[in-house]
Symmetry: C2
DNA sequence: CTGAAAGCGCTTACAG
DNA sequence: CTGAAAGCGCTTACAG
């Protein structure tokens, strides 16, 4: 790679397609064909050009290509999500696929509830013209954003949670996570341990994932004839504090739960704190279940039984869909979640 | 903004500088001057052009500008760091400053210990030609990377931890965090509580931050005549597991510590787990101190006393240095850390 | 304070 | 399978 310098000593000027063309004795159009992997180039010509390209260290200028192609060599990641680990996992997944492709990842967090939500995204998209975007929940559900992307003709992949495999008209443009599958396993696990006083701390009504997870948990409980106790049915907003508050409310009930299922790990961590303060031992006095398998899950004492979603894998698939040339494969991409049993779940103390 | 469409109904073609020039009755060079905020444009001309630009919704094409400028409207964030919250905070900080500037953030995690470390960064820099990069510790210490950036003439800001305010020759190109200041406060806090059997779980020898933090803690202890007990001096690698293992070793010593200072929160969280398993109560039996004020710090029970670094603020300053045009201000940028007292620290039980 | 010409480095039709 | 011409949308010297 340092050959660039040796080949052109003391020269700051950039190696261009013209240099390659001259050295190869062909037109720059032919070099362009090689760069873009066009089929219609004589193998011998192609090999010669390829050799020259690597020898003199030629890198096609992405600005110039972008100008000609009317598209930047960038993929945008659009989200409004406070969970740092989730975001980093998604970034890593996308980057796993992008590495070596010459395409870079532009991160674009936004404020879903801001006045300027759409206008600032429009700004971003018109300014940079990314060759595609990945949108994460919950903004992936925003109709205005989808319309904007259609209008500006920007290819997109949505990441979304659904109860069923039905991807409707958006086939091939969605990565669908089956949150419900691991939740059903978790519900069955809790019920099989013998719990019958089962509390629930769910998520906000307007998060699709909240519905899907609940549905999964209930289905799992039902396989052993258990249900969420109607008097132990609470709701939070996926935050630590809301989980803490909800757990405190549950502990104050006349007939306390022996198990609490939480719609995510953050809220479960809040419930740990409430249990700690109430002098309840986990899992002896209280079984706790979460969702996400966040880093905190196995840092809690005892470690949390939870449901894992292959986040990074989902982003990798999304990036792949966006940049892979063969669009033949339009099958919906569905990813399952899975139960991870750790120390926070056990049979209820007898006689309780 | 939707005026674009109304003004050019049914027209997919992009609004260009030529349209603006024609409508304003000037050359495109003059429009270019307005775009680039050149001083030498008649105020009246400028206002007219500005009005037209917003009216017809003109966005200068970043590809075209990039091609002409030989530089992309992108800032790169280069790092090799496993701490998700730290990374996200840095991203948010940089984006705080970039918002509205038309410049986007490209995230470029890398593998410091890989063979291809430098060559793949070269690839990235030559391919995208970002207008600047921010490099985070520990790769911010890598000489080869700094040399590469010099060679490719890419402006950079390093984020680094130093014991002193000395920024040497790199003035104005570094954001220096004074990790030692908050650590000194923490050391003084522990000593003032009356602890004298004080254990330490430090970081790797090759992390500058490990030295700086230790130095700070020791200085703080010294203000009350306390020291880290030589027989309670352990080392980890900033990971949860290494903190857990080090704490277990400390608990196995004949004369257990009444307080353990950890060089970061992750290791402190590991020490919580070890304490939990050993039946030690925090803070009654054991005072624990961390560093970072990571999200886990106040999710632990009891919440962790730790040292906070204004991470997001540092990234904001770094981005500002990179994109602000006036380079007159070349003062070194130094940021202090501060002690955050929570529930994990108290006086040792008397008679212990 | 303003402009005509040339150029940034690549690709798209269009030919052959 | 290959090429000459024109163009992508902006900016840099160079003039005036």
């Amino acid at each position: 790679m340092t050959e660039t310098i040796e080949t052109f000593p003391g020269r700051r000027k950039k190696v261009t397609i013209n240099d390659v063309a001259r050295l190869a004795g062909v037109s720059k159009k032919t070099v362009s064909r090689v760069i873009n992997k066009s089929a219609s180039v004589h193998p011998r010509t192609r090999d010669e050009i390829t050799e020259i390209i690597t020898r003199i260290g030629f890198h096609p200028d992405p600005q110039a290509r972008g100008l000609a192609f009317r598209r930047a060599f960038l993929i945008g990641l659009i989200y409004d999500n406070p969970n740092a680990q989730y975001i980093v996992n998604m970034q890593m997944g996308a980057l796993d696929r992008l590495r070596g492709s010459g395409i870079e990842l532009v991160v674009h967090p936004c404020d879903w509830h801001s006045e300027a939500f759409i206008s600032s995204l429009r700004e971003f998209l018109e300014n940079q013209r990314p060759s595609g975007v990945i949108i994460l929940p919950p903004v992936a559900e925003d109709r205005r954003l989808l319309d904007l992307l259609d209008e500006l003709n920007v290819p997109r992949i949505r990441v979304t949670a659904r109860a069923t495999g039905d991807t409707g008209s958006a086939i091939g443009r969605e990565i669908v996570s089956r949150d419900d599958i691991g939740c059903a396993e978790a519900g069955a696990h809790v019920a099989a341990l013998g719990h019958r006083r089962i509390g629930y701390i769910g998520g906000k009504r307007d998060y699709p994932s909240a519905h899907v997870r609940r549905q999964g948990f209930e289905a799992g409980l039902a396989t052993h004839g258990a249900v969420i106790a109607p008097d132990l049915d609470e709701r939070g907003d996926y935050s630590f504090d809301s989980g803490y508050a909800a757990a405190r409310r549950l502990f104050a009930r006349p007939n306390r739960p022996t198990a609490i299922i939480c719609a995510n790990d953050e809220m479960a961590a809040g419930a740990y704190k409430a249990a700690f303060e109430a002098g309840l031992r986990i899992p002896g006095d209280l079984t706790l279940i979460g969702f996400d398998d966040a880093p905190i899950a196995d840092r809690l004492s005892p470690p949390l039984t939870t449901v894992r979603l292959p986040t990074r894998e989902m982003a990798r698939m999304a990036a792949d869909r966006l940049i892979s040339t063969d669009l033949l494969d339009d099958a919906p991409l569905v990813v399952d979640s899975v139960l991870v049993v750790r120390g926070s779940s056990s049979a209820p103390k007898s006689g309780f």
